[in-house]
């Protein structure tokens, strides 16, 4: 039984194709991760699933209802947590929950009880009567998720819910999402943090430039990288000349440098580590860290696109 079936979805804005003919299926009670860099088309995809925007072509079934014909039925099934903090900052957390609860049809004691329950779930019971303005970024994100839970959704859609928050709040959010899924809620979780998706999700889809370039279970997707390891070196500066030199002596390895991080993808990284460091030592810049990882989603993305996810 599928909670979501996306069939040949395309969304264009003028000449820009935000989502390009993607198809995927998400099972009921799955925790599905949609991974991709900024601008990959993740937000457009979930906005379409949420019935907020109409597709240019294709269709999406949510709980068996088409977004083209049964949008209102779909809205009753879903809870949406947008990428931005979609709250009224001058109202308290409880007032925000009450407002959206009223729109969901809750009244009186039921509304109050539900608001308490949500505040408990997101760990803000004792701060519920404070204005959102006074919250930290992490607390805002947590109450942002809380509003998405006001209607006990069958499908919870979270769009990059951990952007720009402290590790404590991030962990809290990840644990909350995992618990909700364990209680039977289907979750779509979009992120460009591969470690979050790896930690949370049972199934994963990777998007890039509007296309779905890989999908399957976590193991299936990781296998696409062909057991390649990822070497990550933090180095403040690397000239194009040295990067070219590295690429020349190690042609079978995929390399990428950006934001002070050199990423090298390939098999048996340890065997060429000395060669790489020799060339990097000729740079005046200092190496601040070095890490070799087993095949992961980052290496899959690098393998498939030749670019790092953070790009």
């Amino acid at each position: 039984m599928y909670m979501v079936e996306i069939n040949n979805l395309t969304k264009k804005y003028g000449s820009l194709t935000a989502v390009d003919d993607i198809s995927l299926k998400i099972e009921t009670e799955d925790l599905y991760g949609l991974l991709g860099p900024n601008g990959a088309g993740k937000s457009t995809t979930i906005s379409t699933i949420s019935t907020f925007i109409q597709p240019t072509s294709g269709d999406i079934l949510v709980g068996g209802h088409s977004i083209l014909t049964k949008a209102s039925a779909i809205r009753k099934l879903i809870g949406l947590v947008p990428q931005d903090v979609a709250l009224y900052p001058t109202l308290t957390a409880r007032e925000n929950l009450s407002f959206f609860g009223k729109l969901y049809g809750l009244r009186g004691k039921d509304l109050s009880k539900k608001a308490d329950e949500i505040l408990e779930t997101v760990g803000l019971r004792d701060r519920g009567n404070e204005k959102i303005d006074t919250y930290s970024g992490g607390m805002k994100r947590r109450i942002n998720i809380g509003v998405g839970l006001m209607n006990d959704p069958k499908l919870l859609i979270l769009d990059e819910p951990t952007v720009g928050i402290d590790p404590q709040s991030r962990n809290h959010i990840l644990e909350t999402v995992k618990n909700l899924n364990q209680r039977g809620m289907t979750v779509i979780y979009t992120s460009h943090y591969m470690e979050e998706v790896e930690f949370l999700c049972k199934h994963i889809g990777i998007m890039d430039q509007g296309k779905l370039i890989a999908q399957g279970s976590k193991e299936e997707v990781c296998a696409l990288a062909g057991n390649e390891e990822t070497l990550t070196i933090h180095i403040s500066q690397l000239s194009a000349q040295h990067l070219q030199q590295l690429q020349t002596i190690l042609p079978e390895y995929t390399m990428h440098y950006g934001d002070g991080i050199l990423t090298v993808l390939g098999k048996k990284i340890h065997s060429v580590l000395g060669d790489i460091l020799t060339i990097l030592n000729t740079e005046k810049s200092k190496i601040t860290s070095l890490d070799v990882q087993e095949p992961n989603l980052e290496s899959v993305f690098l393998h498939l696109t030749g670019r790092a996810l953070r790009d």
């Binding site: 949420s50 109409q54 809205r75 947008p82 931005d84 979609a86 709250l87 109202l91 009223k102």
Partner: protein
């Protein structure tokens, strides 16, 4: 119910926001106080002379007829009277001595017309007023009967009326003509050719002036039932309150843009609010806000500034609702057509100022160039402001019914267009 919840939520946010309440309530209170007090002299005839030149129509009175006097005056005195008749020719006196005097010539120009032509020109607002000179003034003067100069103005132009009033007061005073009575007729509905008038004695200051000089001058002011001149405080309470209603409409738009930009609109949609309910929310929000705003501002005017409240309170409340309805409709229209903050800034920074200027919120419509004056009635704020002024002057429902209809019509039209063009998902 969704629309009501959205409206109440927005209202709660607005009323909690000190910056917004400052703009919507404290700013107009400040402006009413400053403009109402500082420009009070601009509402007196003396100051108007620097600002205004008006054209009036003169309807001449019937010339004197000595035959009617033969029964009462000895024949030997008739010749003497005949020679002095030209001194008692009021048509000549008014035209040549009054209206051609250096001071008044720069202020008032005139045309001599018959009654019907003069009335047509007044209706078309080609002349500011009609001065009816009395028939057989000399006969009446000699026989000791009172005469009246009647002045008809359109109440749309209070300043014109005051200028004429001042000129003919001065005339009656200077000539010490005990038999001239100046009547000022305010004819609110003159364009329809309808008007019920009552006569009330006013102008006690003139009475006292005249009695000091031993002159028996009867000053009659013909007014539409209960109508009185308006003060600058009353004018600016109406004008400024209505101007700031436009800002309330702007805040309806700002709330919608916030909802768009911060995805709370998306959340409302997913929570089951339809496009119509979202707009209804903004409509009700602006409506409530405007009603609250007008009530507070007029209450302030009444309590702190000493303005009069309209005697027809029902009409006043209906007008508040109509003006608020118009602004609420405007707010929905803006929600439909403005998609970003830039559009909102243009509305709040430019369009509101233009509408306010045309509507007479900055300077009274009467002192604006003639070409702009008709535009005031085409703006919802101008129409509302003038209707409030009419009511404060003592006007009744009949004097504002067309404005109320216009405001409801404007609001409905804006609402319909807004609903048609609004797309919640567009950014």
């Amino acid at each position: 119910m969704h629309g009501l919840f959205i409206a109440l939520n927005d209202l709660k946010i607005t009323l909690k926001d000190r910056k917004v309440t400052t703009i919507l309530l404290l700013m107009p209170i400040l402006l009413i106080t400053v403009l109402g007090s500082a420009l009070s002299s601009a509402f007196t005839p003396d100051t108007m002379t620097d600002l205004h030149q008006i054209t009036i129509a003169i309807v001449e009175g019937e010339a004197a007829n000595l035959n009617d006097l033969e029964r009462f005056i000895p024949m030997d005195q008739m010749e003497e009277i005949e020679t002095s008749l030209s001194d008692l020719d009021i048509n000549r006196i008014v035209k040549e001595e009054v209206l051609q005097s250096e001071d008044i010539k720069s202020l008032v120009s005139y045309e001599v017309l018959d009654h019907h032509t003069a009335l047509s020109k007044l209706q078309a607002k080609d002349v500011a007023g009609i001065v009816y000179l009395p028939d057989q003034f000399a006969n009446r003067y000699i026989m000791g009967n009172k005469s009246e100069i009647k002045i008809v103005t359109n109440t749309d132009s209070q300043i014109d009326q005051m200028i004429l009033d001042a000129v003919f007061r001065s005339f009656s005073d200077q000539l010490s003509l005990p038999r001239i009575a100046v009547s000022v007729v305010q004819e609110e509905n003159i364009k329809e050719g309808v008007g019920t008038f009552s006569f009330s004695k006013t102008g006690e200051d003139i009475q006292s002036l005249v009695s000091d000089k031993g002159i028996s001058l009867e000053f009659l002011q013909k007014t539409e039932a209960g109508k009185q001149l308006i003060s600058s405080k009353e004018y600016y309470t109406s004008a400024v309150a209505v101007m700031f209603m436009l800002f309330s409409a702007g805040y309806g738009l700002m709330n919608m843009l916030h909802d768009r930009d911060h995805y709370t609109l998306m959340r409302q949609l997913i929570a089951g609010a339809s496009k119509f309910q979202m707009l209804l929310g903004k409509f009700l929000y602006t409506l409530f806000l405007c009603v609250i705003q007008l009530s507070i501002l007029f209450a302030y005017g009444y309590i702190a500034m000493g303005i009069r409240l309209p005697s027809d309170l029902l009409a006043f409340m209906i007008l508040i609702c109509a003006a608020s309805f118009a602004m609420a409709g405007l707010s929905v229209l803006l929600c439909g057509i403005v998609k970003n903050q830039r559009g909102a800034v243009i509305f709040q920074g430019l369009i509101i100022n233009i509408l306010s200027l045309l509507g007479g919120s900055f300077i009274p419509i009467e002192v604006m160039p003639k070409i702009f004056r008709p535009l005031a009635d085409l703006t919802p704020n101008g129409r509302a402001s003038r209707a409030f002024v009419h009511l404060i002057e003592g006007g009744q429902w009949s004097s504002i019914s067309s404005s109320v209809l216009m405001l409801f019509g404007f609001g409905t039209l804006c609402l319909l267009i807004g609903v048609c063009v609004f797309r919640p998902a567009e950014r």
